[in-house]
Symmetry: C2
Subunit: 215 residues, 2 copies
């Protein structure tokens, strides 16, 4: 004999955006910490389903608020994504300061260590990877990512370079590092995926330095 | 008064994989050119929906064959994807020969010109971009892409290099070029996205050469 369904769902994934059956809070502002809860739910939803398929309703469910509140706090989907990218990029946004303090002769090594360091650590790698996946798959997500990366990372580094066409040079330096990230952490090509970090720094930092210094 | 539905669909997209209502051919082997039609339909389906969501049934509809024939010719989904990657990579597979014939002093420039040339031309760029999107989004697709790229491109170039750790060096050279591709053609970061090809070659080829030559 089969057990009849009661209409109640099992516990599911605690706090996940797919949880149903719990009424949304009816406070006009979603109650204390609503903005933070929405942002956390949005990051999970974008990471799990990508930009295209991420659902505002699922974010609202995950945050236990009315869907209208998601837009009230963040505006359209594009701007919710921008807020999620800001959070994922937060560790990287300290990069320009880390790269720029210290002499220009070692800026390439500092940029290499800082950038690869963020991707070595799973805590900082996973949120970035989720954002990169959305940006590669969707033009709108790419535009949001592009605007933040150029204004907050590339152009800040370029502003301190004493070379012709500093923006292009900062981007070519970043391109070397982004390519290493793609092959090492995303596509996982060997032997690059298993190479020691110090060996990589030894081979990549001079190239990054060359781009930054205009050799 | 609303017009009753007749059960017949409109013309839809001609030849697209979503076309319904046309009976699949019942020839046991799908008729002449069935393998080629299936492969073309599979490439369209992977490009439009990505590896995860690509449907074998849609490929069969697009090729006007029975779904079982798709597996008969290509095996499981992973192997259909491998066949699609082979087609998309075909222009790039001439790269190692182009890079390796000619002196070692200019291998970096030849590799840079060849690789960026493939991405400059929309005819060769779009199929590659579709494959890269699937590989970034899905681990199985990444594994297929990785195996082909390493065995057919990286290791062939590495086999001709007269340096220590040639595979790692070939991959670091490729990483510089892949990073340029990501920033220029996928994320479209300025000024890199609009920079002239010759200017890029002038700044990138020496770095690729440095990796390949072990400087």
């Amino acid at each position: 004999m089969s057990v009849p369904r009661t209409g109640e769902e099992g516990p599911g994934k605690p706090g996940g955006p797919r949880k149903r059956g719990r009424p949304a809070r009816t406070d006009a502002d979603g109650g204390p910490g609503a903005r933070e809860r929405i942002l956390a739910a949005a990051r999970t939803e974008f990471a799990e389903r990508g930009y295209d398929k991420a659902s505002i309703r699922a974010m609202a469910r995950g945050a236990n608020v009315d869907p209208a509140l998601v837009h009230h706090y963040f505006g359209p989907k594009e701007q919710i994504f921008a807020a999620a990218v800001e959070v994922a990029l937060a560790p990287a946004l300290e990069g320009p300061d880390a790269v720029l303090k210290g002499g220009p002769d070692t800026a390439g090594e500092r940029m290499t260590r800082f950038f690869l360091g963020i991707w070595e650590a799973p805590d900082t790698r996973e949120p970035l990877l989720a954002i990169v996946r959305s940006a590669v798959a969707n033009e709108t997500a790419a535009a949001v990512f592009r605007n933040l990366v150029t204004s907050r990372l590339m152009f800040r580094i370029a502003g301190e370079l004493d070379v012709a066409e500093p923006e292009l040079r900062a981007e070519l330096a970043a391109a070397q590092l982004i390519g290493v990230v793609m092959l090492r952490y995303v596509i996982k090509v060997e032997p690059l995926a298993s190479a020691g970090l110090e060996q990589l720094v030894a081979q990549v930092a001079p190239v990054v330095q060359r781009h930054l210094a205009g050799a």
